[in-house]
């Protein structure tokens, strides 16, 4: 139920984000979700793509520092309070969210969000228990 996210270490240099996106495009890799955590000196680019293993290979071949981490993609009802309901479940069950961000495209009337938990397995079990819909690796590929 986990999906692969790629974290990329990028120094704050002009055009660096473009370089990475162009490289992925050239390798026929589609970015499904994207987030940049920035500090003054560097950024961590986080992406979910349709072909994570191919993406990591292309990045590493280009000398880019990249690391696969496990995240969970959750379908959120696209209505007021849709996200709040999920956050409440997680808070009640004492699951710690490190960060979260949205997918680029929507799946029908549901929004897709990426969650990074400090304990991914525990989070998945709790989400399942509460019948919250998790998007699989296969699902991400087919988006």
């Amino acid at each position: 139920m986990k999906i692969k996210q790629i974290s990329i270490f990028l120094e704050n240099r002009k055009g660096r984000l473009y370089d990475v996106c162009a490289l992925l495009g050239k390798n026929d890799i589609n970015i499904r979700a994207l987030n940049v955590a920035e500090t003054e000196a560097f950024g961590i680019l986080r992406i979910v793509v349709n072909k994570p293993d191919a993406a990591v290979k292309a990045l590493k071949d280009a000398g880019i520092v990249a690391k696969i981490t496990d995240v969970v993609a959750i379908e959120v009802d696209d209505r007021p309070g849709g996200l709040t309901d999920i956050l409440k479940v997680l808070a009640d069950e004492d699951v710690n969210i490190e960060y979260m961000y949205g997918f680029v495209e929507k799946s029908s009337d549901r929004a897709l969000m990426v969650f990074r938990f400090d304990d991914v397995d525990k989070a998945v079990n709790i989400l399942k228990k509460h019948s919250i819909k998790i998007v699989t690796e296969q699902g991400v590929r087919e988006l």
Partner: protein
Amino acid sequence: MEIRYWNKEIETADREKLRQIQLQRLKSIIASALKTPFYSRRLPSVGIHSPDDIKSLDDLRKIPFTTKDDLRQNYPKGLLSVDTSEVVRIHTSSGTTGVPTVIYLSAKDLDAATDIMARSIYATGTDKTDILQNMMSYGLFTGGLCMHYGAERVGLMVIPAAGGNTKRQIQLMKDFRTTVLHITPSYLLHVHSKLAEYSVAVSDLALKKAFVGAEPHSENTRRKIEDLFDIDAYNSYGLSEMNGPGVAFECVYKTDLHLWEDAYIVEIINPKTGELVPDGKEGEVILTNLIRHAMPLMRYRTRDLAFLHKESCPCKRTHRRLSRILGRTDDMLIINGVNIFPSQIEEVIMKIPEVGTNYQICVEKQGALDRLIVKVELYSKIFMGEAKQIDNLKAKIADELKASITLKPAVELHEPGVLPVFEGKAVRVVDSRPKL
């Protein structure tokens, strides 16, 4: 101009008399040196078995140079001539690697060093009515404590402020009516830039003089300091290996620094050939300490470039004047008065597994102060995907560098392959500070 001497007889002794003192003291130093593991091997190898083998000052030239590398290889006690029970103080300075250079002083050595320091202070016209704020770092560095002792001997009121905390420094200057500062030129300029922030005007202070040293600076910098604070700034020269800041000091005429030749024998050499160069010609400063017996040091290669003036000084002191320091013969960096060798930084970086072996050392001016930036490349295999890990790593590198070089650099982490790859060592250093 009124000229005051701490020790008129010695300070104005004719050159022949000075040479006699040097010869007699050199013989005495040789006797102590022969008690050290290092010199007891080295001196007999050049035919010196006892002080009597030194017949004239020319015989000094038989003794091979002693280098920082010799000191490193003989660390910590290879140049110690007495039992440590006879030692009352040690000081250290930066080595080219993690091994520092150490000096030892007996009670008598410390007394002699203090007297020379007092002589230097007095030569600037400073006396017991003055109040000295000593803004050099105390501790292992000689600049703080050795000046402190000399100033106390002259009878000044000493404020041992040490470096840093500019707000408190300015407060101390105001509250205690400080008249003299001992400080690096860059920090003094920085202090000026902060006065307005604390709503203090130069006229609110009682400053008359500053002893500036520990880093090379130009005549223009001195003038700027004098104009900004309306004071006289006196250049000082010294190094830990020679007991610190009192080796040479400017007199009231401020035309370069009288090198106290009863306490030190100075030679200026061509650093490539080792041959003496005539007065007036630039070369490397070689010093023999004549007043320290616990740890003798003869013909020490300071790596500082300077020249000796030929002309005498109107103050009538016969001790020759050394020019400002014009450069170095090695790659040592002086950053806010702290001596740092690029090899020390390299040694630390090579021990950190999270970064690659390529690095760059950048030094720049930020306002009046120097800023050291150490750039390293992230080793890709260790990246766990989190920003926190990067921040922690930067902090760890900065802390480990501080432990070795005593000042905390800014650390930049780069992607692998970004920093230029160099064959040599010198080009890893980019010093963009304006040239003197």
